[in-house]
Symmetry: C2
Subunit: 195 residues, 2 copies
């Protein structure tokens, strides 16, 4: 009982921090964001902040994990095609759409944080961004000659590698091409070779 | 004449800075590197340093541009196969080999700097990493039904996107898989779809 209410309080504190990070990034951008601002806005102490995050960048990275929430709640229910390729193209399109919700500088920060604070959480197959792909490949691969002997985790990883490559390229091009269109074309070439 | 000797002196200064960056990174790692150290080791003034680079990261990024030197002098002369696919697989393998010359943390810094200081120089088709690919596609695409109507710059860009995606994935996995083997398998899937 005591543990439960501590956990509940902890969740609320973390939620307050995360919401403040989101709000403040949208208001002032990442570079101008300080831990002091976050704590003031979230009405939490610095000690509380450091209980959850090592630094500002880690808190920013956590924001990106909302991509998992988005994939679990919005994307997954829509991947209903009876065709694997169609589902994968749609998945990639949802990923690009998520990226485009933010501005280029914000996305750069996210990708930088992913490299800087790379840990097993980011590349865990338990994350919905991976899990949804793994389930898709599991569901369809037996009916595809090229896939049936492949590991679904490997396939999910490969597919995300391509999506991340496209996004990385878009970032170093400062967002100067149409991410959705260029992305879709490249994804289709890859699927043409995979399936 | 005067201009020539100024240019020569400038080149020597830049060379000294670049060599010191290389030496000091190998000795102490990037995170511990300071501009003060670089200037002392290169025997140049801070003013001279700032004439060439905005900050430490930009100087580090410049080091990575040696990949162009490597591609122009080592890689290009070896892409002599009469088969496009073979040349592209070899190109990708040389890229991975170059990455593996450095340690994972150094490569992370390079990829972070590429995002952070993304500019038109990094994605210029004049860079040997692009130019060599463009020339390859130009040479072979007329004999391939799928490629003959594609722009060689687009094809080069796409191919580098895949290579960069593989490298990015390797970095966020903290180098915990065989970059060359995994890379080659993915490259072959992509080429299977492209060619």
């Amino acid at each position: 009982m005591v543990n439960n209410s501590i956990a509940k309080k902890n969740n609320k504190t973390k939620e307050a921090i995360d919401n403040s990070v989101k709000y403040l990034i949208n208001q002032h951008g990442i570079d101008n964001l300080t831990i002091k601002q976050i704590c003031e806005h979230a009405e939490v102490s610095r000690t509380n902040f450091y209980y959850y995050y090592k630094n500002k960048d880690e808190a920013v990275l956590e924001r990106f994990n909302y991509i998992d929430e988005y994939f679990a709640t919005i994307v997954k229910p829509n991947l209903t095609s009876s065709n694997l390729s169609e589902n994968l193209v749609l998945y990639a399109n949802y990923y690009m759409k998520f990226i485009l919700k933010f501005n280029v500088d914000y996305c750069k920060q996210i990708y930088i944080c992913q490299i800087k604070y790379s840990n097993s959480k980011i590349t865990s197959y338990e994350r919905p961004v991976y899990k949804i792909l793994i389930d898709l490949f599991d569901r369809f691969k037996s009916s595809n000659e090229n896939l049936k002997n492949e590991n679904s985790c490997y396939l999910a990883d490969s597919f995300l590698t391509i999506i991340r490559g496209i996004t990385f390229n878009w970032l170093i091009c400062n967002g100067n091409f149409n991410l959705e269109l260029t992305g879709e074309k490249l994804i289709k070439i890859f699927l043409n070779g995979l399936l």
